[in-house]
Symmetry: C2
Subunit: 194 residues, 2 copies
């Protein structure tokens, strides 16, 4: 029986703690590696092409969009960001597990293009816990936090379209849950040649 | 968020070690309980109605078949055996996880009637390991073992219709895998009221 890698998509409302979970996951699972995005923004000091990002000219990026070469892409503050399908598929073929941390719209794009992707919705324990986190982070104004909380309520409904929901009440428990999901997904019949 | 129980169906070719795995699972997961079958055979000494089986007259059993009250049923050596849908659903509603150990035909019947059931195919590491197990068990003749191995090869193809495949090379590892599957399945969006 021959195995292929998994594409694990970690997503959910802002403030749910996706970033912290992903860092903890990458640390605890050496078989897992982060997907490398393509971007048209300029490299920042210390960023290495092919490690932090694949840096690319706008024209080439737009050609890749036209050719359907992205699993998902977005245009943010004047720059393109995208996940290259070819790179992900090649990594999976080599048996690597790939971790992708993206927003909800991006995650649903990925599932549409690549149904084998495993979508995990990271949920805050409750809206009031999320509010407390956003307040203590101190990055947003009261008005921004109010807006964000009301959009979160809507985003929570999209969890139904995910494969799994993990409540991020405690990081260690959430990481354990995600690792169980990886183990379970590696037991799917499609990953075996029987 | 409110949780419901899981129906876990453990199945696979004879000799794959389903019984051993189920006993180990029940021992290590107190939230899990074995499904109680209905049967028309007479109680053996020590067997308790409602614990070992629900004992029932043939007429009542056949009426339950007609009324579609079984998740699966079979007629074996002159007696009926079946899994009562109502009992399983009530247990799940109460949040209990139910374990059902049945043959492949039964498992596929369950999935058809109750798609939320989680089907786990227990596979022997290889046909040669299975052969060695059957020989050392000493319960079957050479001819019976040959027949069984050839039917196993066909049964392995049915693994594709299962949700998961767990290779029973080592009991502890297989139990760990199944427990990861339980954890993952408890993270399904349909089990949450969001």
């Amino acid at each position: 029986m021959e195995r292929k890698g998994l594409l694990l998509v970690i997503s959910g409302p802002s403030g749910a703690g996706k970033g912290t979970l992903c860092r903890a996951l990458l640390k605890s699972d050496p078989a897992l590696s982060l997907s490398i995005s393509v971007t048209t923004r300029s490299p920042r000091p210390g960023e290495v092409d092919g490690t932090d990002y694949f840096f690319m000219e706008k024209d080439s990026f737009e050609k890749m969009i036209k050719d359907g070469q992205f699993l998902e892409w977005a245009f943010v503050y004047g720059n393109y960001y995208g996940t290259p399908f070819e790179f992900v598929q090649e990594s999976l073929r080599l048996g690597k597990d790939i971790l992708l941390e993206i927003d909800i719209q991006g995650a649903l794009q990925v599932k549409e293009k690549f149904p084998e992707a495993v979508l995990i919705f990271i949920a805050p324990p409750s809206l009031s816990v999320l509010e407390a986190r956003l307040v203590s982070r101190g990055a947003d104004s009261k008005e921004e936090i109010r807006k964000r909380l009301s959009s979160t309520a809507g985003e929570m409904a999209l969890a139904r379209q995910y494969d799994y929901v993990v409540i991020n009440d405690k990081v260690a428990r959430a990481v354990k849950n995600i690792k169980a999901i990886i183990t379970a997904e590696k037991s799917r019949p499609r990953l075996f040649k029987i």
